[in-house]
Structure formats: structure tokens, C-alpha cells
Amino acid sequence: MNIPLNINWQQILLHFFNFSLLTGGLYLLLYKPVKDFMQKREQHYREMDAAAQEKERGAETKLQSADERLSALENELAERRAAAAKEAEELAARQRAAAQAQADKILTDARTQAERERERIVADANREAVAIAEAAMDKLTDGAYDSFLASAEAEQNA
């Protein structure tokens, strides 16, 4: 059969054969090794990336833990500060109360002392007044009583 354009089945098959040989050869010698290497490199960088991400996650966890600890410490510090302030306030209140009690006691003692002093002074004054009165009485009655007594005795005798 005369095919136009000088198409030749044998040569088409030879081209097929040639190209399939080339495809197989290029696959084994070039395509596969290069692709394998690229996959290996991709895997390597993926692993590096995963390791870096893992490290980042670890660092983030550590940072979070440190933050939590810092926050706990700050809370504890605030609590302790509040407790100390409260304690100081209580101490101050206790001291104020003690000082007040002491002041009250001093005042009471002073009042008692003053009262006692006043009573003593009054008693002394009374005694002195009685003594003055007795002395005055003595002075007034000195002789008159004796005269009275003598006149009384005289009457009796009489």
C-alpha cells in the first residue's frame, strides 16, 4: 500500500522503540534519582521544620510555665504584702489599744490618787479645824467652866 507523505510503519515502530528506550533510560538514570534526591531534601527540611516547630512549642510551653510561675509569685507576693499590711495594721491597733488602756489606767490612778489626796487634805483640814475649834473653845471656856464647876459644887455643898 502506497501511503502518502512517505509514511513508513517500520520507521514509526523504530521511532517508538527509540523513544521508549530513551524514556526508560532517562527515568532510571536522571528522572528518578533527581526526584528521589529532591524528595529526600524535602523530607530533610520537613523534619528540620518539624523539629524547629517542636522546639518552638517547647519554648512556648516553657515561656508559658515561666509566665504562670511569675504570675503565681506575683499573686503570692501580693497576698503576703496584704497579710503583712493587715498584720501591721492589727499590731498598730493593738498598740493603740494598749496605749489607750495605759492612758486610761494612768488617768484612773491619777484620779484615785487625787481623790485620796483630797480626802486626806480634807481630813487634815477637818482635824485642824476641830483642833482650832477646841483650842478656841478651850480659850473661851478656860476659867468659866472652872468657875461654873466651883459654883456648882458650892451650891451642892450648900
Binding site: N6, F19, L26, Y31, P33, Y45
Partner: protein, 289 residues
């Protein structure tokens, strides 16, 4: 005032620049002299004359009816010799690269490694993009077809000579400028697409692929036409001695490089695209409301 060391460095750099300029001038002069000598000698030496008319030459470039070569006892078109040479060269280069270059691949690639990776990645990416469901074999096929078309097309630039059975010396053409080679690659691409259809959809895939019955024809003749046009223009240009100066730089080199790239891209793109379409699993039909 500039420091003394800086002045010394500056003077040295200027001196180096002068030396470099002188070297370039000397090279340019030598190159011009050699080119002029070649031009003069090509004009002085008498031409052997044309053994065949331009019509016969063009006709033979298309049909390969007269100028045939011997290969293992068979009379074949010169393009088959070109195909064997290109394949042999590619396989040899691949073997050398496999033995000498690939074991020295580094994670941070050099120029050659980058070029190799780019070639593999381009065709692999083309296969993956156009055929996301099934692409492992397609990548290999696209890679070898792309490399074969590209290298085979620029092969004609080298002008390797062969002797025909008629005893005429002729430059080996691009393998795909032969209709038989173009048909074989077009049909093979169609068979690859068919295999994708079968692998992806079974008998339905065969039906889908057979519907595109014009594909092998269009692929074959697109390749043949593109490569043949390049060959004819080159043959025409070189047929006349007066056209053989300066013009081949544009016509021969730039056009060849351009259509080598375009044809490699077009065939691999079409094959991957159709392969992806045929191998795509059928979606279940949604019930109509």
C-alpha cells in the same frame, strides 16, 4: 585626606580595569580578524555547486524520498539517524550525570544541579498540575518527551553530517521533522492518554479517549508542521550562499530555540491536560430535584 591604604587599593583597581579593557580589546580585534579571514576565504574558495535543485531539496526535506541512510542494513530516513543519535547522546549524558553529578548533589544546589532539578520539577509539576489524580507515569513521560523534543529540535543547529545511500553528504535534521517520528510521538502521546483513561475510569475512560480520535492526528501533524517549517526555512537559508551570513544567527538559532521550547511545552502540556481529563474519576451524578 584619604588613608594611604585606600589610595593604594584604588590605584590597583584602576590598573586592573585598564588591563581588563586591554584584554577585551585584544580579544575583539582577534575575533574580528578571524571572522574577516573566514569570510574572505569562504568567498574565495569556489562552491561545490548544488547537487539538487531547491525544489527537489525542499521536497526531499518533507518526504525523504531520495536521500536515505543505512542503519543496520535498513534504508531509513536521516531523521531516524538523528533520533538514534539524540537518544544515544541523551542517555550517555544521563549516565554521566548519574555517575558523576548526582552522587555529589547538595542540599544547597549549584548551577548544574539547579538546572537538572528545574527540568525534572517543570515536567513533574506540569503533570501534577494538569492531572492531580494520577501523575507518576505521566511525569516521566512528559519529562522524556519534553527533553527529546527540545534537544532533538536544537540538534539541527549543530549540523552533524551524514552520508546518504546516494553518496551525498547532508546535515542531520531534527528527528521530529520526519513525519514518521512526529506520528510515533503523537500516537504514543495518545496511547499514554488512553492508558490514563483506562487506569482512571476503565471502559468509560476508553470511550472518553476514543471520542478524542483526532488527537493523535493533530498532535502528530502539529509537531511535524512546526519542526518541518523550521527545517525548510533553514534549508532555504543555507541553500543560497549569500543568505548564509548573519541571517542564520536569527533564523537558525533564535527561531530554532524558540520553537524547540514552544513545541516541547505544547506537546507535554496537551498530553498532561488530556491525561488529567481522561483519568479524572467520574463524579457520581446528583439527583435532580
Amino acid at each position: 585626606m584619604l588613608p594611604l591604604e585606600f589610595c593604594d587599593e584604588n590605584t590597583q583597581t584602576e590598573g586592573d580595569n585598564k588591563m581588563e579593557r586591554k584584554k577585551k580589546q585584544r580579544f575583539a580585534l582577534a575575533w574580528l580578524a578571524v571572522t574577516a579571514a573566514l569570510l574572505v576565504s569562504s568567498l574565495l574558495v569556489p562552491s561545490a555547486g548544488h547537487e539538487e535543485s531547491v525544489r527537489a531539496m525542499m521536497c526531499d526535506a518533507v518526504l525523504h524520498g531520495e536521500n536515505r541512510c543505512a542503519l543496520f542494513g535498513m534504508q531509513v530516513n536521516p531523521a531516524l539517524i538523528s533520533a538514534v543519535v539524540v537518544s544515544g547522546t541523551l542517555l550517555l549524558a544521563a549516565a554521566l550525570i548519574r555517575v558523576l553529578v548526582i552522587p555529589r548533589f547538595r542540599y544547597v544546589p549549584g548551577r548544574l544541579q539547579s538546572a537538572l532539578e528545574l527540568a525534572v520539577e517543570t515536567f513533574d509539576g506540569l503533570a501534577k498540575t494538569n492531572s492531580p489524580h494520577r501523575n507518576s507515569f505521566l511525569g516521566v513521560y512528559a519529562f522524556s518527551a519534553g527533553v527529546y523534543i527540545f534537544i532533538g529540535t536544537i540538534f539541527e543547529l549543530f549540523g552533524f553530517q551524514t552520508v546518504t545511500t546516494n553518496g551525498i553528504s547532508m546535515a542531520l535534521p531534527a528527528p521530529l521533522s520526519d513525519v514518521n517520528a512526529a506520528i510515533s510521538l503523537g500516537v504514543l502521546s495518545y496511547l499514554v492518554i488512553l492508558s490514563g483513561g483506562i487506569a482512571g475510569n476503565g471502559l468509560r475512560g476508553v470511550g472518553m479517549t476514543l471520542k478524542e480520535f483526532s488527537l493523535p492526528l493533530s498532535m502528530s501533524f502539529r509537531l511535524f508542521g512546526a519542526l518541518l517549517s523550521g527545517l525548510l526555512v533553514t534549508e532555504l537559508v543555507y541553500y543560497y550562499a549569500s543568505l548564509s551570513y548573519v541571517l542564520p544567527v536569527i533564523v537558525g538559532v533564535l527561531f530554532t530555540l524558540l520553537h524547540a521550547l514552544i513545541q516541547a511545552y505544547v506537546l507535554t502540556m496537551l498530553t498532561t491536560l488530556f491525561y488529567g481529563e481522561m483519568s479524572e474519576p467520574a463524579h457520581p451524578k446528583t439527583a435532580k430535584a
